[in-house]
Symmetry: C2
Subunit: 408 residues, 2 copies
């Protein structure tokens, strides 16, 4: 048990992320860019939209021609033509003229604004009555108003959402340089663990962790690689670890919940080539017996065997490391949700507690209702919507305390 | 323009979701179950974990044998053996005895609790000193404590997160019945729209919407199917719509932002076989010119051409319809985030406004800072983290108002 006397705080473990580097890059098609991380700065090669564009259906005008126009005293403008979508207007608009234009259409030379069709009447085929004045640039987008040529529109390390993909597409980037999707090897250990297709006899349980951990890695946009179940046998574990470290960018070993196993997980990791043990125990609950090693410059985690503990450790510390590997500039998707606690919660000082909670809507705000139950029970995670964090220096939280929730 | 005089509220449009039905079901492998929706009730075929299990490393005991034990007056127990992981203990534990056990191990018959190893000393090879008493069932999980045989553990319509996948795996379900992933056809329209690989001349813009809409559908776990760009030509649009309705479960038509197009999108949809126009205009901003038709019992949406408006409409109303098709029992992922507004916001009564906001951390709570800018500018969506909703009957919001944010 000596390995776990010198536990590190969550912050101390997190600071170790600096020791690891971002995965390599690759060219990807824009169609598959969502949820990837940009590995280059994108610079606009042209202005966007590239021409002065109407944002309303109506008439392109010189604003000055509408000044003073009102319901009782409309401005009369001469209809100069209709603008076809996708074409350069074949005429120059003079003061006193109006050209019929649709949203997205290109304003003719001379025109500086658009009068909404609702504020006009087409009198005959030749004149337009305008009932409301417009200011210069009203209801138009300038050629460079979205993005100007040579402007950096997206920077390296940006998580690509639908709008970033759309912007890149709009600027003509049919391919992007992105960070590779990190491969995360997953190893389940324990003599008591059997494949899910087998029928357990008393004493055995099916391999839950491979599936929950793979799901969490997918959710965080990594690529899980399953290495199956390894018995409590140091040489088998060493072999599996070497293979996983060789083939992946990060490795998760779950289980080894027995006293002996937990010790030999450290010993096995220490025996791998080019490997340092960085963490042996973390002052969080659940999740204390967490191990972190650096093997061939890749993070290798020893996670608790209890499913809830393993999931909590992945959510609170493994994913931030994964994001470092992925090249994230910031943790875009890790917004915490404020909520109000429904009851008093006790907590032991000196450790960081993570409590599963159910979120309930309550007149526009959220209530966080703690889910009680042992961390060996997966049903506590089935009921939970999120995790509530209680700091090391807090002895507990009172009912109605405002708390931040990490979504599950 | 007549089509858009009789606009519906967001609630009225949402109530139409009842007219559409869930997609079909299929058998899927448990390894690909995350982010799918369960199409059956899962019933436990056995107890889980199935045997009385230790949740700590230590000694299995009869609790009664430890009563009164303390540092100064320890209980002396006879070591009856060591329990191997994954095996049924080959002995019955008698009162006065202790058996060495690891977390996850099976308690021997007779034992009802576990003393943590930290509260014991192994004196010689034969006796264990216990310094703290335990209560019956302390540090154990009962055979049926996670889930009992014949219990319904997950119900039809559940969105499968990593923990639900793990639970199903743990119960031996290597396959699940899930709803199919709905196919969502995406059609861009407009004479001004060109493929992203082409160089636009003034008046033209590249097809942004196909990429943003496909991204939003993927994010919501649907399968986007791109039908490319259709010119402003009713017969071409009709042909594309028929094909998309035939091949997909839902169709999005974006663009048709020109006055004529918007009208003929309705006309084209009305001319499709077995089709009813349900919505022609929605009292939201941006997004007013939204069309919804029911064609062969599938929702077909006419979305605004402006990228921001199209995205907002997808987030606020298309995704809830998609979730109906997907078989969701509840919208698990649509939690709104409470935040505090940084400035006064005006709003026209009689319509629902959606304002893009940046979220900033501020001492444990979140600030929502409005992003100003026209809905034709994609950069407003690039800067934004979420959407703030202002109700129809609200004339505006004051600085510091508590608001709910839909994450982008």
């Amino acid at each position: 048990m000596n390995h776990f006397f010198n536990v590190k705080t969550l912050e101390e473990v997190f600071s170790l992320v600096e020791q690891f580097s971002v995965v390599g890059t690759q060219t990807i098609d824009i169609g598959g860019a969502c949820s990837r991380v940009l590995a280059e700065d994108l610079i606009a090669k042209t202005d966007m939209p590239g021409f002065r564009r109407a944002t309303m259906d109506g008439y392109a005008v010189h604003a000055v021609s509408t000044y003073g126009a009102s319901e009782s005293s409309p401005a009369w403008l001469e209809l100069a033509g209709t603008i076809s979508m996708g074409r350069v207007p074949g005429f120059v608009l003079k003061p006193g003229q109006a050209a019929h234009i649709s949203t997205g259409g290109m304003l003719p030379k001379g025109a500086d604004s658009v009068v909404m069709v609702e504020h006009t009447d087409l009198v005959d085929g030749e004149s337009v009555e305008v009932y409301k004045s417009v200011a210069p640039l009203q209801h138009v987008i300038e050629a460079f108003e979205d993005f100007a040529m040579d402007q950096t529109v997206l920077t390296r390390g940006t998580f690509i959402r639908p709008q970033e993909a759309g912007l890149a597409a709009g600027l003509g980037f049919s391919e992007l340089m992105a960070y590779k999707v990190p491969k995360v090897g997953i190893i389940s250990t324990g003599d008591e663990i059997i494949p899910i297709t087998q029928e357990p006899v008393p004493g055995q349980i099916r391999d839950i962790n491979s599936y929950t951990l793979a799901g969490l890695i997918e959710e965080a946009h990594g690529l899980p690689v399953l290495y199956g179940i390894i018995d409590d046998d140091p040489s088998a574990l060493k072999k599996a670890c070497e293979k996983a470290v060789d083939e992946c960018d990060m490795v998760l070993i779950s289980g080894g919940s027995s006293v002996g196993t937990r010790d030999y997980t450290v010993d096995v990791l220490a025996s791998l080539p080019d490997t340092q043990i960085l963490v042996q125990g973390m002052s969080v609950s659940p999740g204390k017996p967490t191990i972190l090693a650096k093997s061939s410059n890749k993070p290798v985690w020893g996670l608790p065997g209890q499913v809830v503990s393993a999931m909590v450790v992945v959510k609170i510390i493994v994913i931030p490391f994964l994001q470092k590997l992925q090249g994230y500039k910031k943790s875009v998707r890790q917004i915490r949700v404020p909520a109000k606690l429904t009851r008093n919660l006790a907590s032991a000082p000196g450790r960081r507690d993570f409590v599963r909670v159910i979120l309930e809507n309550d007149q526009g705000s959220l209530l966080a209702r703690p889910v009680l139950g042992k961390s060996g029970l997966i049903r506590t995670m089935i009921h939970a919507d999120g995790l509530l964090e209680i700091g090391e220096h807090v002895e507990g939280l009172e009912k109605e305390a405002l708390v931040d929730i990490i979504l599950l």
